[in-house]
Subunit: 245 residues, 2 copies
């Protein structure tokens, strides 16, 4: 779907002035998981292709959550799923010999991912006008560490752990709005992934797409939304501009 | 119990260096509920004794939560309990005629309480060294508004709404530590109320008392802890000093 088909802020729904809170996807939208993981894995000095390792680890991400989404297991935090996924891929990279403390250390790389360059300033600008919270599949402790690492200022940490389920299940978006005592239409989900925005819109939230075309390597990410959204922007600064913040 | 009986940081438990997160009581400890409420009620121009009104409203606070704590009703947010308590006391002050929008507005005074003067700077100093979160009976939306009103920088909003129960039930302290993936002994509860600190200590948290001697009017609050604590301070700045932040 081209940008021209994207609905504009002046559409038939409630005015953008009614948006009071912005909820953010984090992995891929705010932080560049691939580059940080690739660098740390390369730093192990074992001759591993760091980017291939990062991609393999991330490829286990959606299947790892599926058991919880499907109700086949109770909610477990993403830190646990990341560790299970790590244990699954290590043999493929000849790293079966990594001991438990080394695996724990490596697993915490998700807590120290670097943000895309526009994020710190963009969030601080958006925060003057809106309440901001992550609505990520990452657990609270992980979100707290990422925020301290990258100087994100959040009003609250919402997302999967509050809802005890994983996006794109509607419970996650609705729990975030409910925690701020706002109806869904006064909240806007911001993400680089159209599936996330489609799910949020189905719950009544407004949506903003931020392009991260290099998320999985050059020209691999979404350069624009593939679903109707309220706003499409190339950076958080552009989003702030578009939202009058 | 005198300050001399208060345990010192160099006690037999784990070293203070192991404390990674501080959890804060909010009403009374960080914000001066009585003065703000009294001022707003006086501002209604109905000749009400604002301080008597504030005291009456606050007196319904503990009984209001008791139904949830006892399991006689499911968790409901403090905003709802505050409104129930407001409806209960209005007739005593000749304010039965207040309509629903006026009651809603008045109820939100809890979202705009002013902080004690040492808090903004004290928190910002403590945050350089520790993760900070409210562990209040206030709900998330209420904590978010108080933080924006007073410029508190939190790493996360924890407390009653996460635990779906009210302090001093152990679940609230334990859920806060668990959300940050920390054992209780690496967390410290900070409060102006000894009952809160005693309950936190029983869960294995470390504790800090901050004196708010004028909480309920001059010389009515706790000038010092009545239970053993790890640190007793007269302000958040003194607490920061004592904790090396």
């Amino acid at each position: 779907m081209s940008r021209l088909e994207v609905s504009q802020l002046g559409d038939t729904r409630s005015s953008p002035d009614s948006v009071e809170a912005l909820f953010f996807d984090v992995f891929g939208t705010l932080v560049d998981w691939r580059t940080t993981i690739a660098r740390e894995v390369a730093g192990l000095g074992r001759g591993i292709d760091g980017e291939a390792f990062a991609d393999a680890w991330r490829a286990e991400y959606q299947p790892g959550m599926e058991g919880v989404r499907a109700g086949n297991r109770g909610y477990v935090r993403l830190d646990i799923l990341h560790r299970e996924n790590l244990d699954r891929i290590l043999p493929r990279f000849g790293l079966d010999d990594l001991d438990d403390p080394a695996r724990q250390r490596l697993n915490l790389v998700w807590h120290r991912l670097d943000a895309w360059l526009d994020v710190e300033f963009g969030l601080s600008r958006l925060r003057r006008r809106f309440k901001l919270a992550p609505a990520s599949n990452g657990n609270i402790a992980l979100m707290v560490d990422l925020a301290r690492h990258n100087n994100f200022g959040w009003d609250a940490i919402l997302g999967a752990e509050i809802a005890r389920d994983y996006k794109p299940k509607p419970e996650v978006y609705l729990a975030a709005a409910d925690a701020l005592a706002l109806p869904p239409e006064r909240c806007m989900m911001v993400a680089a992934h159209s599936y996330d925005l489609a799910a949020a819109a189905a719950c009544g939230l407004r949506t903003a797409h931020v392009a991260r075309p290099d998320e999985y390597g050059p020209a691999t990410g979404e350069a624009g939304p593939t679903v109707p959204v309220d706003v499409a922007a190339g950076s958080l600064s552009e989003l702030a501009e578009r939202l009058g913040a």
